[in-house]
């Protein structure tokens, strides 16, 4: 991460920060083992969460689709975590080209979450060897902390994004719901994916929440703080990220170089981390609970509308390949002859309107002002995009490339 240009403290600044730390004082007024203020917000859609840790802001978004499992694990689903530094957080990040720190960030979150088996993978299996759910978490770094007195491109570092990104991934996964599907048919191979309006989507089985806690070491490795700011990062001798759950199980430890630290200090760090992990776990759980209960209340209100739709929304069915209908497949057809026949839920307009007099709306009186624009005003930027069907144009492209899964 040091290949970027960074803020270089003067000797005085460096001494000031270190001296203050010796008497347990930090430049932003926190105590050594305090996190910055943590705020978790959830989007309207399931599986989207925004985490604010101090002035760092990360958005997590979880999605899933049915894929063929890996050959060596035929009865397990997959989980992949994608991180990209958005130029929104820092104009120096280039889109589409993840830097060194983006890769480190992604890997640490991935190891802590996936390799600690926090999410139950076997429950994501639908038909062993044929269909499993592949869960994808996208982490968007929206804001990388803004210190007004520091010029741009000088403070490009991880800036403790790991902790925030990890919490964002956990929050997104905790609220994520996958559509329910059942296996049926003559040979027991036919998979039916139920519309979320018909059957409630299912949450993931999450065994534990691994929380990443980052420590910074100063002096001879005997002074440490958690959740360092960028000023402390510029001065610190080394950094370690411990991913630990509330039971005290260590899920991953990342210490990439830096000053050597005594094993006793590391033991102390882990004890502190497990306390912090318990704090944050309860915080996440509380937020998720209040979100789910709010969502449940919404559902009760919405029931009449969804009941109307219920009759008209057919389940999306997966059939054996006979009719070869390929038009609207979002899931890749599997090689061994299984094809997915998706019918888009056609919602019939219930209240057909005879009276098509649109200007008679009371709610918006401004819209009644009738003015006709001459066609001449429109010709300069008008685009004609017709060959694609309308449905294609409207549909957002959630294309997940298979290649990316195989690398992780």
């Amino acid at each position: 991460m040091d290949h970027h240009q960074r803020w270089h403290p003067t000797v005085n600044e460096r001494e000031f920060i270190e001296r203050a730390l010796q008497s347990d004082l930090r430049v932003d007024g926190r105590r050594p083992f305090d996190f910055r203020r943590l705020k978790i917000l959830f989007g309207r859609e399931d599986g989207s969460a925004e985490v604010q840790l101090g002035d760092t802001r990360v958005m997590g978004y979880a999605t899933a689709q049915l894929v063929q499992p890996y050959k060596d694990r035929p009865n397990e689903g997959t989980l992949a975590i994608f991180t990209e530094f958005s130029p929104m957080a820092d104009p120096a990040f280039e889109p589409g080209r993840p830097g060194e720190s983006a890769i480190e960030l992604g890997r640490v979150v991935d190891r802590g979450l996936r390799e600690s088996r926090a999410v139950d993978m076997e429950s994501l299996c639908v038909v062993a060897g044929k269909h499993v759910w592949s869960v994808r978490v996208d982490l968007h770094i929206l804001d990388n902390g803004g210190e007004l007195n520091v010029p741009d491109a000088m403070v490009l570092s991880l800036r403790n994004l790991i902790d925030a990104a990890n919490i964002a991934a956990l929050a997104a996964l905790s609220t994520f719901r996958r559509p329910e599907c059942t296996v049926g048919g003559e040979d027991g191979q036919q998979v039916t994916v139920h519309d979320p309006e018909v059957r409630d989507p299912l949450p993931l089985t999450i065994h534990h929440l691994p929380i990443a806690v980052t420590f910074a070491y100063f002096g001879e490795g005997n002074i440490m703080v958690i959740d360092p700011t960028y000023k402390e990062e510029a001065v610190m001798g080394g950094r370690m990220t411990a991913t630990i759950n509330s039971n005290g199980d260590v899920c991953s430890i990342q210490k990439a170089g830096g000053e050597g630290v005594m094993s006793s200090v590391i033991m102390q760090c882990l004890r502190i981390a497990s306390v912090k992990a318990a704090d944050i776990t309860s915080k996440i759980k509380n937020e998720v609970n209040s979100y789910t209960s709010a969502k449940a209340l919404q559902k009760v209100k919405r029931l009449p509308a969804s009941a109307l739709k219920k009759d008209n929304a057919p389940d999306v069915a997966m059939k054996e390949s006979s009719d070869g209908a390929l038009e609207t497949q979002s899931t890749k057809p599997s090689s061994d002859g299984q094809q997915i026949n998706k019918e888009p839920p056609s919602v019939v307009e219930d209240n057909k309107q005879e009276d098509v007099e649109p200007m008679l709306s009371e709610c918006n009186p401004e819209a009644q002002s009738e003015t006709r624009l001459t066609a001449g005003g429109s010709d300069e930027t008008q685009e004609a995009i017709s060959p694609k069907s309308l449905k294609d144009a409207v549909k957002p492209k959630h294309k997940i490339k298979k290649k990316q899964h195989s690398k992780s």
Partner: protein, 238 residues
């Protein structure tokens, strides 16, 4: 008549709008613009010195980066970027800062239809918050044409599935004259030309003009909203 749409709106009714000023610390200007459940976060950096190769150095250039919620950027997103770039170029005063680049980054936070209009509105608000000199505001509206030729405004995702065609229209903001208390609405609106029009699907000429007419009428409401939000939040700024 009243509940003609699935969510209970009437054809000309827009979803509730909201705009947050500078939600991000680091960006020079940022805005979170929400139209119902469609939410777009826009951040503006710049103007920073130098233009990219191929851009006219005698004018300011604008670059637009679109970040989808999930996955890679595809053709559709590239098209959005291009549309946004051209639209923003037409509303910015490009000669004030020659040989500079202004970056606009968009992050989709929620998508429930009318994504591009929402993004254009978000960009416009972010540019204002960043203090980029503009000729006027850009106000975008999504109009959809149903099978029976009915035009609905600010379509949501469920509605977009049933549309025959749609048009995304961008207009300049409605002018507000300081002199006369009662501005002549008709005269005022007729001066406002169309900045951008993106249509998908087949629609008759009549339908298109009907879209423009409704869109223009609705845009004055959006521009009023935009103006009040921008004004209301201005004094608290540094």
């Amino acid at each position: 008549m009243e509940e003609s749409r699935a969510d209970g709106r009437n054809p000309n009714q827009l979803r509730p709008f909201s705009c947050t000023r500078n939600p991000l610390d680091r960006a020079h200007g940022s805005a979170r613009w929400a139209q119902g459940d469609t939410i777009v976060l826009a951040a503006v950096y710049g103007p920073k010195p130098g233009t990219r190769k191929g851009e006219n150095p005698e004018k300011a250039s604008i670059e637009v980066v679109w970040k989808p919620m999930t996955g890679q950027i595809g053709k559709q997103e590239k098209e959005y970027e291009m549309t946004l770039k051209r639209t923003l170029q037409s509303i910015c005063l490009l000669t004030v800062h020659p040989n500079t680049t202004t970056s606009v980054i968009l992050q989709v936070v929620g998508n429930d239809g009318s994504l591009l209009p929402c993004a254009i509105n978000a960009c416009c608000a972010a540019l204002v918050f960043a203090g980029i000199p503009l000729k006027h505001l850009a106000v975008a509206i999504g109009c959809g044409v149903l099978e029976d030729g009915e035009v609905i405004l600010d379509t949501n995702k469920a509605e977009e599935q049933q549309l025959k065609s749609f048009a995304h229209l961008v207009f300049p903001n409605s002018r507000k004259s300081a002199s006369s208390k009662e501005p002549n609405q008709k005269e005022e609106d007729s001066e406002r030309g169309l900045i951008t029009s993106i249509t998908h699907g087949v629609m008759s000429e009549e339908d298109y003009f009907s879209c423009i007419e409704r869109g223009l009428a609705a845009s004055s409401r959006i521009s009023h909203f935009m103006r009040t939000t921008l004004q209301k939040q201005a004094p608290g700024d540094v």
